[in-house]
């Protein structure tokens, strides 16, 4: 009885979408909706809406332009790194080196700027460095066939270490004030809307279209579900993963450039530990760590949910330590709940056709 097959967690997703709208007459519409929203992000999207509503109603300063500005700036880097991470986790891999890539890119910018490289050039070099770092991850994972968890734990230390080698414990803070101010500037002069938020939104839409509306995006889900089968259908699993890691490195270094210009300093310990927050937001957003399930909407909601909760707690004068507990509990709840729901369902309705219910041993036997 305690051996619920592991697959049930992912398997529940289609069922759940089927429940609320039983109309077979509009099937094409429903199918399209299902391909766009897997249903797993419904809880996090609703949680975000509830949190937003609660914060607007009960937290005094929350709905001010200044605070929204602050909130959006503070989640921008995590949101950026979470976008490629979503695609990578959907293919069943993981990239723990993103925060170190961010730091190394920031350190590179600092060293280049110090040595007199014009900042426009330095920015592009940083992006190139980020792409190389990501490509190195991709190379180790795809060509050498190493597990991405181990590889990116290694490159996380390596890239962070290289950032220390470049900068030591110094900080480069002599950036031109126009560039530093630029990072905090508003889009079209609208208060409460920093341009980085618009940039993230545009990128999120691009990633969303790529993931949910193109053949490449669909192939990512196939790879995550069964990369063997994906290979047989003509998907180049290796190249896809390689480019995803390269993309992740590039976007992380863009986040590094933004971070540097926002705070006006480059330091080697920048964004230390941020990779775990990115992973937490992605998982919270309904992406399955087994691969094959997830959506950009869910992940962006996850990022924003954590940001809103932190922001509201800060306005209440509650320290960030409580946020850590909250983050942890939300993350655990988000993985425990679907499992409990699935079990309750199995317990309540043991008869109907879905296979998993009664004889767990035999179904497992057939499975393997």
């Amino acid at each position: 009885m305690p051996v619920a097959p592991e697959r049930t967690v992912t398997a529940t997703a289609p069922d759940r979408v089927g429940d609320p709208e039983p109309g077979p007459n509009r099937r094409s519409g429903a199918v399209r909706l299902r391909s766009l929203l897997s249903g797993r992000e419904t809880p996090v999207v609703s949680a975000l809406l509830v949190a937003l509503l609660g914060a607007v109603l009960f937290v005094d300063m929350f709905a001010t332009a200044r605070n929204v500005d602050f909130l959006l700036l503070s989640v921008a880097a995590i949101a950026l790194m979470a976008l490629p991470m979503t695609l990578i986790v959907i293919t069943g891999e993981i990239d723990l080196s993103v925060a170190s890539t961010l730091a190394l890119s920031s350190a590179t910018l600092g060293v280049l700027w110090e040595s007199g490289v014009p900042i426009e050039t330095a920015l592009w070099i940083c992006l190139g460095v980020g792409a190389l770092l990501g490509a190195f991850n991709g190379f180790l994972v795809t060509v050498c066939g190493l597990p991405s968890l181990a590889v990116t734990i290694g490159t996380m230390a390596l890239y962070r270490g290289l950032a220390y080698v470049l900068l030591g414990d110094r900080a480069v803070a002599s950036y031109p004030s126009a560039w530093v101010g630029g990072a905090r500037e508003h889009f079209l002069g609208l208060p409460g809307l920093p341009w980085i938020a618009v940039a993230v939104l545009v990128l999120a839409v691009l990633f969303g279209v790529l993931l949910h509306a193109t053949a490449v995006g669909r192939s990512l889900f196939d790879i995550g579900n069964n990369d063997e089968a994906a290979r047989f259908t003509g998907v180049s699993v290796r190249w896809t993963k390689f480019w995803l890691f390269t993309l992740s490195g590039t976007v992380a270094s863009a986040a590094g450039v933004f971070w540097t210009l926002q705070y006006g300093t480059s330091r080697a310990d920048t964004a230390f530990g941020l990779e775990l927050q990115v992973v937490a937001a992605v998982l919270l957003g309904g992406v399955s760590i087994f691969g094959g399930v997830g959506s950009v909407l869910g992940v962006m909601s996850g990022v924003l949910l954590l940001g809103v909760i932190r922001n509201a707690l800060q306005l209440f004068g509650i320290g960030s330590e409580v946020l850590q507990v909250v983050t942890g509990l939300i993350l655990i709840a988000s993985v425990v709940t679907p499992n409990l729901v699935a079990r309750l369902r199995a317990a309540r309705a043991p008869r109907p056709s879905p296979p998993p219910a009664p004889v767990s041993a035999s179904t497992k036997g057939e499975e393997s």
Binding site: T8, A280, E321, Q324, V325, G328, V336, K364
Partner: protein, 350 residues
């Protein structure tokens, strides 16, 4: 049940008894741990030749003490990794236990030292049991669950500590002495770590339930079908890992005397790194605690050796990262070679 033979526990790296199936694999592992050991010895020798002060009595003590906490944590992590799980919360658990132990002395000034040590280990045990319970009941990768508890335990610690810290003068001298006293030239914490490594290594190699952890890590479904109580075993691994993290916290508090809520931050990845460098595979089912402990010793020896080689301390982390990549690359190479060999001699196999 337990086929504990009369052999001395120091059978070292070759630990596993006759294990008919994986002979090439076993030779490979043996080579792997021997490799790490050689690296440690070579590093220490070269550094000593470069500067004899490295192995002064104080230098040796520092080497021992430096490796102690990480080695104890790596042993626990190896137990969990072998079952194809991972525990990212160890840094937080260690911090919680270190602070809890320190705070106990503040709250109950007359507390006997053994009671405090037990309490510290107990805190870790409870955290480990919670992890194990979540992992086994939720059927979600331990990576996700323990990422959650990493934040939860750390936050709990921050909330408990409330920005404060426990200082050496809050702790009884007898407790602090634990971190300083030596037994036969070996600092007591290091002796504790060696005992832990030997005991857990012996258990994994010689006891049926220990061997079963490998079976679970290699193929959990097959292990379950062959009657291994996988859920209980995984719980056991997490609980043991938690208790060891608790012990590491106690050792930390005894050695440094000053404890705040940030103790152990970021430690989890260093611990996983030590285990991986020592040849414990993240994919489960492979590795020994001797290897993991050696990995921890190698990482801390590098830290100690860098300044003597006049290499900037800032290279440390880059070296560690390169070492991890080299270790998993080497594992991959060896696995490929074994596979090729098996295929070559595979006429009888298939």
């Amino acid at each position: 049940m337990t086929n504990a033979t009369g052999n001395a526990p120091q059978t070292s790296t070759a630990g596993a008894p006759a294990q008919p199936s994986g002979r090439p694999a076993r030779r490979q592992r043996q080579f792997r741990e021997l490799g790490v050991l050689l690296a440690v010895v070579a590093l220490i020798t070269a550094t000593w030749l470069h500067n004899p002060g490295f192995l002064s009595s104080q230098g040796v003590r520092d080497l021992f003490l430096g490796a102690t906490v990480l080695a104890v944590l790596a042993v626990g992590q190896a137990l969990v990794l072998i079952t194809k799980n991972v525990d990212l919360s160890v840094g937080s658990v260690m911090g919680l236990s270190a602070f809890g132990t320190g705070l106990l002395f503040v709250t109950f000034p007359g507390l006997p030292v053994p009671a405090a040590v037990l309490a510290g280990v107990g805190i870790g045990l409870v955290c480990g049991l919670v992890n194990g319970l979540l992992v086994t009941t939720v059927q979600v990768p331990a990576l996700v669950v323990t990422l959650g508890t990493l934040y939860a335990y750390r936050g709990l610690n921050h909330w408990w500590a409330d920005g404060g810290q426990v200082n050496a003068h809050d702790m009884p001298a007898a407790f602090l002495l634990l971190g300083r006293v030596s037994v036969l030239g070996v600092p007591l914490p290091a002796a504790v770590a060696i005992a832990v490594v030997a005991a857990v290594g012996f258990y994994l190699a010689r006891y049926r339930s220990g061997r079963e952890l490998y079976a679970i890590g290699s193929n959990a479904d097959a292990a379950r079908l062959s009657g291994i109580p996988a859920t209980r075993r995984v719980m056991l691994a997490f609980a043991a890992n938690g208790a060891l993290a608790g012990l590491a916290g106690v050792l930390f508090a005894a050695r440094y005397g000053t404890v705040d809520s940030t103790v152990g931050t970021g430690m989890e990845l260093q611990v996983v790194a030590a285990a991986v460098v020592g040849g414990v595979a993240i994919a489960g089912g492979v590795g020994t605690v001797y290897g993991a402990a050696l990995g921890a010793v190698l990482l801390t020896t590098i830290t100690a050796a860098l300044p003597i080689w006049r290499i900037d301390q800032f290279w440390h982390q880059a070296v560690v990262g390169a070492l991890i990549l080299a270790a998993i690359g080497l594992d991959r190479l060896l696995a490929l070679r074994t596979a090729r060999k098996l295929r070559g001699g595979g006429a009888r196999g298939a």
